[in-house]
Structure formats: structure tokens, C-alpha cells
């Protein structure tokens, strides 16, 4: 299998097999120091991004900071 399918912030996304979280973010043109990632309901800490591989069917959520009270 060369490609895997993910759900990324509610949208289906297809990426190359063995893509890690950091590569996924870069591919989405996301500034790395501005976001946090949840994969399958668990927080993936920044330090784990480059060693965490995306897997078929992963539900990945990217969170950022917004204004709030």
C-alpha cells in the first residue's frame, strides 16, 4: 500500500504511507509552533510528531489558538 486515508479535522485526506505527523502538518502548510495534535482521541505531544506515523483510518485533529475570554 503506497497511500493511506485519514480524517483530518473532519475532512478526508490521502497521504503517502509512512508519513509522520510532522510531515503531515508541513504538507498542510501549518506553522508547527502554533498547533497541537490529537490522534484517535489522544494528544500527540510535539516531541513525538516526527516519530509518530500516520496509519490508515486515523482521525487526526489539529488545534490552534484563537481569541477567547
Amino acid at each position: 500500500m503506497d497511500e493511506i486515508n485519514l480524517m483530518l479535522n473532519g475532512e478526508p485526506v490521502t497521504v503517502a504511507n509512512r508519513t509522520n505527523v510532522q510531515q503531515l502538518l508541513l504538507a498542510q502548510k501549518i506553522q508547527l509552533d502554533r498547533v497541537a495534535v490529537v490522534c484517535g482521541g489522544d494528544v500527540v505531544p510535539k516531541s513525538m510528531w516526527s516519530s509518530t506515523l500516520c496509519e490508515e483510518g486515523n482521525v487526526i485533529e489539529i488545534f490552534g489558538v484563537v481569541a477567547g475570554g
Binding site: L8, N9, G10, E11, Q28, I30, Q31, D33, R34, V35, A36, V37, V38, G41, V43, P45, K46, E61, I62, F63, G64, V65, V66, A67, G68, G69
Partner: protein
């Protein structure tokens, strides 16, 4: 000087960053108000939209950031959001707010206590947003919260200190700083909170939704300072003892 956890604050006016019409005005208002602690929220990114980066200028301004858990409807979600915020912002400070009720956005005391316990255990500096409930505030203190943030009135309502009687009890009892959050709609109300002995107030809507947020922030800063000064100077008591309405039987005559 106000100390929360191990951080000192000169300004006792904390600000929210929501509801401003632009981040430029938001930043100008924070600067004018002199806030050293400002709140932020966490949100799932809309990957298709252009993102308005408020973080870069806020980080540059040097204020301390206090992410909140708004949007969380239970303890589990709040703990998750706190972890996300810590991962992004590198701060273990968290304003814990859990409101499952979409109409009045009133905080859930049971989930809040549960989440506070878990977050404190994980080493977070927890500032819970709660109803003005003195017993709950004590319980939150017992699990290790660094401050408590009881509400004055429903969030965004500008109704002021509708919970005054209970806020007084909380202030009297608290061993951690008490920050009055939510509902403060006018500088006079912020001043009243400070005169009562609150350690700080958190204001957002009243500043953000005013015609001139910068001027309003400045006005809040003055009110907060005046209220704090008045509290420290010691307000004159409201005299009750000198004006009895009916003649009384002397109680100490037997000592003569």
C-alpha cells in the same frame, strides 16, 4: 503585588481576547489596560480558511498567556484541551471552564472539580471558572487550584456582581487568590469587586464590545486600581450601632 502560583502581577486587571473587531484593536486595548495576563481559547483549525494569527503579537507583547478550556463539556474534554494548550503554548497554566449549557454558559461544578483534580495531579496551574459557590471554591482549593475564578453574573451579560453575597464569603475564606470573572460590565462594577477584596478581575466583553475598547480598557485599569487602593486603605464601616430604632434594655448596667 498579586502572586498566583509563583508569578507576580502588578496589574490586577486580567483581559480576555474574544469579541474584538480586530486583533489590532485587541492588542491596543490590552496595552492600554495594562493587563499582564490574557486569556485565549483552543479551537480545531479550519484548514481551508485564512488564519488570523493573534499569537505572534501577543507573545511579542510579553503578557502571560492563560489558555482556557472553553468548548469542553466535561472533565475528560477539559483535560484534553488543557494538554493541547500546554503543547502549543508551553504553559502549564490553564483557565478551567466547563459549560455544557449553551444558553447561559454556566459552569458545571461537578465536572470542574473532577477536571481540576486531574489537572492538578498532572502538574497544571489550574484557575477554575466557577459559580460563586463558597464550598466548591474550598474544594477546588483543596485539590490544589492556584486561584479560583467565581462569576459575578452570567458570562457576557454585563450584569455586574449579582453574586455579591457569595463572592464576599469566598473572598473571606479563600487561601488562594480570588479572581472575579464573568459578568463585569462596567468599570464601577470592577471597582466594587476590588473594594470587596477580590484579588483581580477578568474582563472581556465589557471592553471588547464597547465603542472604544482602548479607552474602555484604560478606564477599567483606573477603576481596578482605585478599588484595590480603597480596599487596602480600609473602607469606613457602614454604621449600624449608632442608630437603633427602638429604645433598648441596657445589658451591661450590672457591671456598674
Amino acid at each position: 503585588m498579586l502572586t498566583i502560583a509563583d508569578i507576580q502581577f502588578e496589574s490586577r486587571l486580567f483581559s480576555g481576547t474574544g469579541k474584538f473587531c480586530s486583533s489590532k484593536i485587541m492588542l491596543a486595548a490590552i496595552e492600554a489596560g495594562g493587563s499582564q495576563l490574557v486569556t485565549l481559547a483552543m479551537k480545531r483549525l479550519d484548514l481551508t480558511a485564512k488564519r488570523d494569527d493573534i499569537l505572534t503579537p501577543l507573545l511579542a507583547s510579553g503578557v502571560k498567556l492563560l489558555p482556557n478550556t472553553a468548548g469542553a463539556r466535561n472533565a475528560h474534554e477539559a483535560v484534553m484541551v488543557a494538554q493541547l494548550a500546554r503543547d502549543v503554548l508551553g504553559t502549564s497554566w490553564i483557565k478551567l471552564e466547563i459549560h455544557p449549557d449553551p444558553k447561559y454558559l454556566l459552569p458545571d461544578p461537578i465536572e470542574t472539580l473532577k477536571a481540576a483534580q486531574q489537572l492538578c495531579d498532572k502538574g497544571f496551574v489550574v484557575l477554575p471558572y466557577v459559580h460563586a459557590d463558597p464550598v466548591l471554591c474550598r474544594r477546588l482549593e483543596e485539590v490544589g487550584c492556584a486561584a479560583v475564578m467565581p462569576l459575578g453574573s452570567p458570562i457576557g451579560s454585563n450584569q455586574g456582581l449579582a453574586t455579591q453575597t457569595f463572592l464576599k464569603i469566598i473572598i473571606e475564606q479563600a487561601k488562594v487568590p480570588v479572581i472575579i470573572d464573568a459578568g463585569i460590565g462596567a468599570p464601577s462594577q470592577a471597582m466594587q469587586a476590588m473594594e470587596m477584596g477580590a484579588d483581580a478581575v477578568l474582563v472581556n466583553t465589557a471592553i471588547a464590545s464597547s465603542r472604544d475598547p482602548v479607552m474602555m480598557a484604560r478606564s477599567f485599569a483606573i477603576a481596578v486600581k482605585a478599588g484595590r487602593d480603597a480596599y487596602q486603605a480600609g473602607l469606613g464601616g457602614v454604621s449600624e450601632h449608632a442608630s437603633h430604632t427602638s429604645p433598648q434594655t441596657p445589658l451591661t448596667e450590672f457591671l456598674e
